[in-house]
Symmetry: C2
Subunit: 327 residues, 2 copies
């Protein structure tokens, strides 16, 4: 791995999210030498998202002692074109056909690689997590939404559109609940943090989730992964039921993809899994046993993600390092 | 394509099915020079399936004028190990851990390549059909069962187990009807010829499918793809409803895989599609529009398979030709 970069080389990894932007400066061993994190929405009037990103990168470089950098890797919400670094449409960042890769390259004078944030996170977990010995890996990340990424034969799967891996928008219940994408019955509409919070808020309103009602109320914005974990620990049995059901749905989606992709390992990450790891692994395992073909599920490793919030910056750094090594 | 084999070279492709075995001898341009087809179950007492296969190959060689052959490619029901040519478990052929590749190699004295029949058929459609210019292709084949195959970056996807592509056993309705695999709600339990015939037999029994009742009765063994096509043509409206619903389910599975794999083309084949092509393409297109993400489904080509019964022998011949060229 050290061979990708030469001693003294540094690269930057950037994780662009709807609520926060993080950048990290990494040395040739992919150790984080400096980092900076800011809310995506700036308080400075008129500051564009790209200027905000430049600020965050500058902050990380400052913390690392301003080393010369060789390149920048970026994980960004999609859809985007990894070949050109153009963000095609991300309404909550106000980007439409925005050449993010070009903008960063011009500002910092180095090559830039841009890819979908969840794909980059999957790639990070694959390169630096517990599954780097597996050539075929599926990553599913249930949090506020549900993202996914696929490694086939040691390579991140992009597909024809460049945007493969939308595990969260597989239809799991044909006439199921409405999804943010406009469809119905998507995994994300059944098992994301928002989908769970919606059910739990109703439980709380009816008096069936006393710990949630007392400590977090009935506003789904406040019923976050940590709140759910605490409520389960405090004995809110129906909250546990709702979360287990969601985790089982995640497992059905994983089982479907085990049947089709036959991965060697499945990485489960995201806010929900970080907050309730054993519950998610348990229910997903149960669903995989119920819904995946015995021959295909045999010896498949189901592992929790281990990089947490650093998955995207690490994956992005590795991605640009590989691009540089190819050139 | 002609470069894989030299002028004068011949290879054999074999398609092993539960009801019939077909072998074809192909020249260096992959033109079929001789073929032979027999029922899988022999009338000769005590003849094993492998002896039956040897007979079929000998028959095809005879028809081609007994040229020297360079290798044999085989598509067989799985699960099997493509690396070793061992059939792991195929109850209806009486094979358990059977070294089919080795047996054929010993009998004919040439290299052998063995792979899953549906994967080989997908590969044939990819190499010789209408989608050979697409690097990422999904094949789904609804017939008596439902098989699938995936081409990623110009290569057949095998995955960790070697048996990737079990599209028919994706769960589409969580508590849906029982499937032959022992699970519930698989695509195959909702949309295969057997699943359709089961519903149509009940319609016929109740007087709701008069053409079927009069011409084919209520035995699902007789309600085959051609019978369904004729009944729809004759105006059995509820039969058409049932078939359209099944085709829509196939489209949901395709849509889910468009979201995850982002193929450039989807090939629909199998007995049901061959008998009712426009209906299947129409309903699958509707389901893809309803269930695939707009950015991922954009410009995806949905095409009917064109090789029919020859897909597996052609794919198998190409597979062994490539293996020979690599050596």
């Amino acid at each position: 791995m050290g061979k990708l970069l030469r001693q003294g080389d540094h690269v930057v990894g950037i994780d662009i999210g709807g609520t926060k932007i993080m950048a990290a400066v990494l040395n040739h061993r992919f150790e984080i030498m400096g980092r900076c994190r800011k809310k995506t929405r700036s308080k400075k009037e008129g500051q564009s998202t790209e200027e905000r990103i430049f600020d965050v990168v500058a902050g990380a470089l400052d913390e690392a002692g301003n080393p010369e950098i060789k390149g920048i890797g970026v994980g960004s919400p999609g859809p985007l074109d990894p070949a050109t670094g153009v963000i095609i449409d991300t309404p909550n960042l106000n980007w439409k056909d925005f050449p993010l890769g070009e903008a960063l390259g011009r500002r910092f004078g180095v090559p830039v690689a841009v890819d979908n944030d969840v794909n980059v996170g999957t790639y990070g977990e694959w390169c630096f997590g517990d599954v780097s010995d597996c050539a075929d890996v599926l990553g599913v990340f249930p949090g506020t939404g549900i993202g996914g990424g696929v490694i086939v034969g040691g390579k991140l799967l992009h597909g024809f559109s460049g945007a493969a891996g939308e595990v969260g928008h597989m239809t799991i219940e044909v006439d199921g609940p409405y999804c943010g994408c406009g469809k119905r019955g998507c995994l994300e509409a059944l098992a994301s943090r928002i989908a769970i919070a919606k059910e739990v808020a109703a439980l709380a309103a009816r008096g069936d989730a006393p710990y949630i009602a007392e400590n977090f109320g009935t506003d789904i914005a406040n019923i976050r992964s940590g709140a759910l974990a605490k409520a389960i620990e405090a004995g809110d049995a129906m909250v546990e039921d709702v979360v287990r059901r969601a985790a089982y749905y995640v497992g059905i989606a994983v089982a479907n993809l085990i049947n089709v992709l036959s991965p060697e390992a499945v990485v489960l990450g995201g806010g929900l899994v970080e907050a309730m790891e054993s519950l998610f692994i348990e229910e997903a395992t149960r669903a995989i046993t119920d819904h995946a073909m015995p021959f295909l599920r045999k010896n498949v490793r189901l592992v929790p993600a281990k990089l947490g919030d650093d998955a995207v910056v690490l994956g992005a750094a590795r991605m640009i390092a590989e691009k540089l090594a190819e050139q």
